[in-house]
């Protein structure tokens, strides 16, 4: 059974139109992460939550926001997507901070 579920798998948005990506988990893990991976590049950690505590990476643009309303769900909001934001977005969870991570299948975002 899928343990980390990302929706949708593919998302197309227009330049400047806000978009929200969703991640849910059935593992009851404390930590949830969001990564951005552009084509043929390494993943880049955007931010993570330990429970309700939000931890932003220093170089994550303000255009990217996140919400974690409860243990199971975490959302990535892109307020004004630009062409450079087209990427695969990966959600992951771990039981404790930066321990072994479990990844969802990813959401591939296209910006037109």
């Amino acid at each position: 059974d899928a343990m980390v579920i990302q929706n949708p798998r593919y998302q197309v948005t227009q330049f400047g139109k806000p978009v929200t990506l969703s991640c849910s988990q059935t593992l009851n893990h404390n930590v949830m992460y969001w990564y951005q991976q552009k084509s043929s590049q390494a993943p880049k950690l955007l931010f993570h939550y330990y429970d309700k505590d939000f931890n932003n990476e220093a170089d994550t643009p303000d255009n990217f926001q996140s919400r974690r309303p409860n243990t199971s769900f975490c959302f990535l909001d892109i307020r004004s997507p630009g062409l450079g934001d087209a990427a695969m977005y990966l959600c992951a969870t771990s039981r404790e901070d930066f321990y072994i991570q479990y990844f969802g299948a990813g959401t591939r975002l296209s910006v037109l």
């Binding site: 990564y35 590049q41 390494a42 993943p43 880049k44 950690l45 931890n55 990476e57 220093a58 170089d59 695969m88 990966l90 992951a92 930066f98 321990y99 072994i100 991570q101 479990y102 990844f103 969802g104 299948a105 990813g106």
Partner: protein, 113 residues
């Protein structure tokens, strides 16, 4: 600034052969990760190495960590085609506020019959 260098970036192997992927990092870290990624797919966590001298093995893959040398290795034993994928190492920066988890560029492994 924490930098993570992997080499080689591309590796073509024959089935049955052994090889090692290297991951060097530039500043103190308290843990190092190895991931696998198949083309067009998500990441899969392979290993988390927490201390100097740590060694972990899963099947034909073995990872080790030397924190004094700031070096981790991923050793592949008797490669099989199913191991073809891109392998990333990532290092967690200990303390500070910048760049908590930094990835290497990845090693694209191709195992040929």
């Amino acid at each position: 600034e924490l930098k993570v260098e992997q080499n080689p970036l591309f590796l073509s192997m024959q089935e049955g052969k052994n090889y090692t992927i290297y991951c060097n990092y530039s500043t103190t870290s308290d843990r190092l990760y190895w991931y696998r990624q198949d083309p067009g797919k998500s990441l899969e966590s392979l290993f988390v190495l927490l201390s100097n001298g740590a060694v972990k093995q899963e099947g034909r893959l073995m990872a080790s960590l030397d924190t004094k040398a700031r070096l981790s290795t991923l050793h592949i034993t008797a490669a099989v085609h199913d191991l073809s994928a891109t392998y990333f190492c990532a290092v967690r920066r200990y303390g500070g506020s910048q760049g908590n988890l930094i990835f290497g560029k990845g090693t694209k492994l191709s195992v040929k019959p």
